[in-house]
Subunit: 415 residues, 2 copies
């Protein structure tokens, strides 16, 4: 099945240009550029011959009907919202490629067995309402009535925002799809890292999406005058913090082997009083641990906190740690992993299996049906920034592997 | 000579109560509570029998005339301004004790050889105009016409503020005293540290006031997605910074011997983007080094920056360092050091020599005349905070040693 490469390129270009003019690329969910982009996308779906709807959770869905509704739908898609000053291709590539797959089926007179659904999930990026993956949470029954009460900085509640996006928040439970409605989900995305690039591979076949644990550590010492407090009388919270920061780095490097993926980061630090002439009295750190191995995800922070407690004791500091959040590890379905790998081989594209270090809508879709993801390289691993870049060749490769994978999955019923 | 202990206590209490009511103790220079405190103080000086004036630099000076004007003045004093949410005794103790000394001379019918000057220096603390020690800078010829153009957050210029405080900014050069006008300066202050307390001494005899060098270090790595960037591909600026923070601490402890005083502090840190899910791409640190030994003051930062450069190289980070400020090391006059030590002995008060880790108006007065300082203990070393506390016994001890020292210096001419 031949895709229309020019159309992929044109749609990526057009869709990305719905942005706040002064700060490309910024298309925050629920804002005016986002709404215009959605209208355009719905129109493109219609042109492609899909029937469109917005579900109760505010997801835009275009459907190409299959011959056997009892098989459930094969779905593909991603998101079109961005972070502030984000990248041009993060999200939209997966939506455009899914649309191209369905449209090419239609144009090539291929009538699928399954319904083919092209999904633009509502607000995948961390939203202004304090929650990410709003649409895929709703679709998988993970958007609670508490979530709907979350507010943005202007005081608008999430349920009001979902209504503006075309959803039906009072029926949010009905947004949840039953498991036999969906036969599979495949998401194409840019890698957002440098693994493919540094391994010179064209396609990343995602084996699982890392679990994420986040912690806050509060280290308390004593704020003193930096001039009058001799070194031996100090209780410098920043000195304790620096030992912990170093340890996170060395300990994570020890875990990193070919047997698994683990990254650990102290990304945010707040010091009080944070003045040139004051001994730091308090430091707050965030620790984030991501891994594709459950025991590492559990062990790493335990081990680190044991170290931190001892290090603080030595420096006469107090430390308190608490878990802020926990996103479970998501395994991709073997069926989809194998299908994507075979599709890449068929198309003569080099591939490698890899975990996804970033979260995606696929995390929630995996609760409903066999789910998998494929990545294409992005320049120098940059993402969530205007420098994010991909080649059109890689974009087309990704779309071809996606289309081939969906075709293969659709044709499984024949065997 | 017997001081009026009750009066010292009452004046400390009264003077401290000129504060912003909601946040004791806050009496910022140039504000309304400060102006009222000054008016009260000038009135007390008049009651004490001193002639008062405000010099061109905005310093309030009360003078008890001596018998021999050719000898120049013996001066004593400190400041009555505070930092925001500052301490109750920082500054005012030295002013009240100097006033008590002059008043007791008068009441005891002791007519000094020298003029005795009681000085309330304008704005010793870092002011809202970006400069500290405004009055003592003016008196020693260190307040430039550039300084006078500094503005506060409301856009008022320093020269306008000095005029409000009763100074004559257009004649600021005339605020500078000639060296033969002043025979000596002695300042009593709370220690603002824990050295006296931990050595159970009553009086600290200051040998010198530390020199201060401040630097900014900017460490640049690469901000990356914390989930998708494996440890070996990271350039984490915070990991580099943590090595430097630890090194400052261990290196300063190595310097600290009985032969000298050195403290070094990373007090402020700013991280970009400072987000839980981003590898830190840039860290800005301030490094402050204080020492009473010139070669340590020069060596320490050189040595540290050499280390930092290497450490950053290892982590594939860039580092830029620049000196922000340099306050020269100030030696106290042997004459005054010996006089204070003898006075403490005479009064049967335990004493020890020590450097001052904090800056004071004495730094500038030392450019004009033989200058020295004495400290009394403050509870747990706390200062620049509402918890700052002293005992009245220690306050009286300090005032007695100050008075005895000024008497001794006055009587030197008889020998």
């Amino acid at each position: 099945m031949k895709l229309n490469e020019k159309r992929i390129e044109q749609r990526l270009s057009k869709l990305s240009e719905f942005t706040i003019p002064g700060s490309p690329w910024t298309r925050r969910a629920f804002t005016e550029p986002y709404a215009r982009a959605r209208d355009w996308l719905e129109h493109e779906m219609t042109i492609a011959g899909l029937t469109t709807r917005i579900d109760h959770g505010g997801n835009l869905i275009g459907t190409l009907p299959g011959t056997n509704h009892a098989l459930g739908s094969l779905a593909s898609g991603s998101h079109i919202d961005t972070v502030v000053d984000g990248g041009r291709y993060d999200g939209i590539l997966g939506v455009v490629a899914a649309l191209e797959t369905a449209q090419s089926m239609k144009e090539n007179n291929y009538q699928p067995h399954h319904n083919i659904e092209v999904i633009d999930f509502l607000s995948e990026e961390p939203s202004d309402y304090g929650i990410s993956c709003i649409g895929s949470r709703a679709m998988s029954g993970n958007l609670s009535s508490d979530h709907l009460q979350y507010t943005n900085a202007s005081g608008e509640k999430l349920h009001e925002a979902i209504r503006r996006a075309g959803g039906t928040p009072e029926k949010i439970q009905n947004a949840c799809r039953s498991k036999n409605e969906l036969a599979g989900f495949v998401e194409l995305h840019i890698e957002q890292g440098r693994v493919l690039e540094s391994n010179t591979k064209k396609i990343g076949v995602v084996t699982n999406i890392v679990g994420i644990k986040r912690f806050e550590m509060i280290i308390t010492g004593r704020s003193d005058h930096s001039g009058t407090t001799p070194m031996n009388l100090r209780q410098d919270a920043l000195v304790g913090a620096s030992k912990i920061i170093e340890r996170v780095n060395t300990q994570a490097k020890e875990y990193q082997t070919t047997n698994g993926y683990l990254v650990a980061t102290i990304g945010a630090i707040h010091v009080r009083p944070n003045a040139v002439n004051a001994v730091p009295g308090e430091v707050r750190l965030t620790l984030e641990v991501r891994s594709d191995k459950q025991d590492w995800l559990d062990h790493f922070p335990e081990q680190l906190i044991t170290f931190a407690t001892k290090a603080c004791e030595t420096e006469r500091l107090q430390i308190k740690s608490r878990q802020l959040s926990y996103m479970h590890l998501t395994d991709c379905a073997d069926l989809v992993i194998q299908t994507i790998t075979r599709s890449a081989n068929t198309l003569d594209l080099s591939s490698m299996t890899m975990p996804s270090g970033a979260g995606h809508d696929s995390v929630f879709m995996a609760q409903l049906c066999p789910t998998g993801m494929l990545f294409i390289p992005c320049l120098d691993g940059r993402s969530h920034c205007p420098e994010e870049s991909i080649t059109m060749e890689d974009a087309i490769n990704g779309a071809n592997v996606l289309a081939q994978s969906i075709l293969s999955l659709d044709q499984r019923v024949e065997k």
